[in-house]
Amino acid sequence: MSPIGSLSNDQILSAYENAVRSRTLDIKVVNAQRQGIIGFHVPSEGQEILQTAIGMLLHKEDIIFGYYRDFSLLMKMGIPVSKILDQMLGNQADIEKGRQMPDHFSFKEYNFSTIQSPVGAHLPLATGAAYALKYRKEEGIVVANFGDGATSTSDFHAAMNFAAVFNLKVLFICENNGWAISLPTKKQTVADIYRKADAYGMPGKRVDGNDLISSLNGISEAMDYVRSGKGPYLIEGVTYRMGAHSTSDDPKKYRVDEITDGSDNDPIRRLEKLMLSMGMINEAQISEIKRRAREEMDAVIEERRKIPKPEPESIFEDLYSEPAWIQEEEKRSIL
């Protein structure tokens, strides 16, 4: 069933607001990085609509294995910006206790699993989680997000194959943003990404990830398929990385002709145009939404950056269920 017929103006507006808040947070965090407040960031700019669409279609019990560039998804899942920032600042309120680089979130409470740096390494875990759901006859599916670069990893191959062989409820969503750092997707793989599904015996579909309706249509069809127990599914969402790979990257080195202001590929502008043409919104309301987002993000950053660091002893915790003598001894000798 396509959700579009039943998509209300409020839902479209709330998708738009989510994307704008995510974009605003990206911009504010990059500024904070330049000022030394936050150490590093991988912006999601350009991928907001695809991620928002995924978030809109999730059920509460679904388990998400996202990756490091998923701001809009986290926000659409209802994870508070304050918690996102606590992780990025590595402060005392960060549930990961400041151990991971910014953007490497773990929110078990929200069914958002855990992000690692090694590309693709979460994909086999997603199949294990799906088997657990199946074995324990629990509701929900597993959604695994990853970049175009990740499709080259051995982990991707293993996960796709296992998910199909064991007929698991995994929805694989490739956020193809055209780049893996400096490597354009056409040098990453000669094949169409969505067609890789064929090789594993599952359906694959490409959606325009910069378009809300196309994304919602494709993903909801895939989710229906996976939820019904027919097996895994691969979605390729074609998006666009509007900026640098990360705050450590200088895209001018490899993207000379490509770099634009992103206007043609900017999914937020596209949605704005659609809403304007439908008379759902006017320019003044757009400015107001953006202003509110800026105010919100400024206020949260100001608030969260005041929270002190975790205690130094905390770096020696959580290796095992019970502390071992090795870390206890090292803690005494180092602190």
Binding site: G39, F40, G90, G98, R99, Q100, M101, H104, Q116, S117, P118, V119, G120, G149, A150, S152, T153, S154, D155, A180, I181, S182, L183, K187, Q188, T189, S248, D249, K253, Y254, K309, P310, P312, I315, F316, L319, I326, Q327, E330, K331, S333, I334, L335
Partner: protein
């Protein structure tokens, strides 16, 4: 001669090796157009073309495995793994293929492959851009493991690694990539694999270290006027046992400093070798100053990394024993 950073020194060395030998091929992620995320391969694709500087898909197993196949069949690949933390998908290729190929084929084949990779912490890289995994490789016979501590050694060791005829894990301390400069001659020169450097001479204590910790150790020893032998191992496999033992026989006191975790780190092997060969000369227990046995945390890097205070504590312990 010009002053160069380690990045510049490595870049210039690769350039000369490629110019002199048509069979030298570079492979890695983002090493071509982008010149590598640390810029070690900057300009080389422009100069030598896409057929000799390959931007690969994102798969370390593929990079190392393809490099090994090239090496077995007449080419001279030098591959880059973007961060040592991401080498583990290639671990099977390294341990089960390249380290064993000469042995299992009765010397019919060899794998003259250099695997360059930045390692170590101190750049706010968190769990996955900071690890010092040398022990995993040093535990694998058939490999050589090398780590330069300065721009001059980086060149000499890279040339020797390239010429060694065996697979070499070439660990580049990323914290030192741009932090120190040294005089680096333009022409190729060699630093023998398996030979340590005695950076300072003294009679009270032997401090053994390598790679990323060398400059911290030297600064500490100099600043505190410790009368110490400072040994920079330079090669971790095979280690320069003679340099270690002759110094220990002179000083009788040993401190080992490395950034990698303590348990089964290089310090464990060095201590065992010393106790087997020079027990009678020891005047104090051997002390290790190392990273703790925890993942490298994003915050509190400064607690993880051995520093002046911890090194001096260890030195005074062995001196006052």
């Amino acid at each position: 001669m010009t002053l160069k950073t380690m990045v510049q020194s490595l870049n210039q060395t690769l350039d000369v090796l490629m110019a002199e030998n048509q069979n030298v091929i570079l492979l890695g992620e983002d090493i071509g157009k982008n010149g590598g995320v640390f810029r070690v391969t900057e300009g080389l694709q422009n100069k030598y073309g896409e057929g000799r500087v390959l931007d690969t898909p994102l798969n370390e197993l593929g990079i190392v495995g393809m490099g090994a196949g090239m090496a077995m069949y007449g080419l001279r690949p030098i591959v880059e793994i973007q961060f040592q933390d991401f080498i583990f998908p290639a671990f099977d290729q390294i341990v089960n293929q390249i380290a064993k190929i000469r042995y299992r084929t009765g010397n019919q084949f060899s794998v003259p492959l250099v695997i360059r990779t930045p390692y170590g912490g101190g750049v706010r890289g968190g769990l996955y851009h900071s690890q010092s995994g040398e022990s995993y490789f040093v535990h694998t016979s058939g490999l050589k493991v090398v780590t330069p501590s300065n721009p001059y050694d980086a060149k000499g060791l890279l040339v020797s690694s390239f010429e060694s005829g065996d697979p070499v894990i070439f660990l580049e301390p990323k914290r030192v990539y741009r932090s120190i400069k040294s005089e680096v001659p333009e022409e190729l020169y060699r630093i023998e694999i398996g030979k340590a450097a005695l950076l300072k001479e003294g009679s009270d204590v032997t401090v053994i270290t390598y790679g990323s910790m060398v400059s911290t150790v030297v600064d500490t020893i100099t600043k505190n006027r410790v009368n110490a032998d400072v040994i920079d191992l330079r090669t971790l496999l095979p280690m320069d046992i003679d340099a270690i033992i002759s110094s220990v026989k002179k000083t009788g006191r040993v401190v080992i400093v490395h950034e990698a975790p303590r348990t089964l780190g290089m310090g464990a092997e060095i201590s065992a070798l010393i106790s087997e060969r020079a027990m009678d000369y020891l005047l104090a227990p051997i002390i290790r100053v190392t990273g703790p046995d925890i993942p490298f945390p994003y915050i509190y890097e400064e607690l993880y990394l051995p520093d002046e205070r911890r090194i001096m504590d260890a030195i005074s312990k062995v001196k006052n024993y």
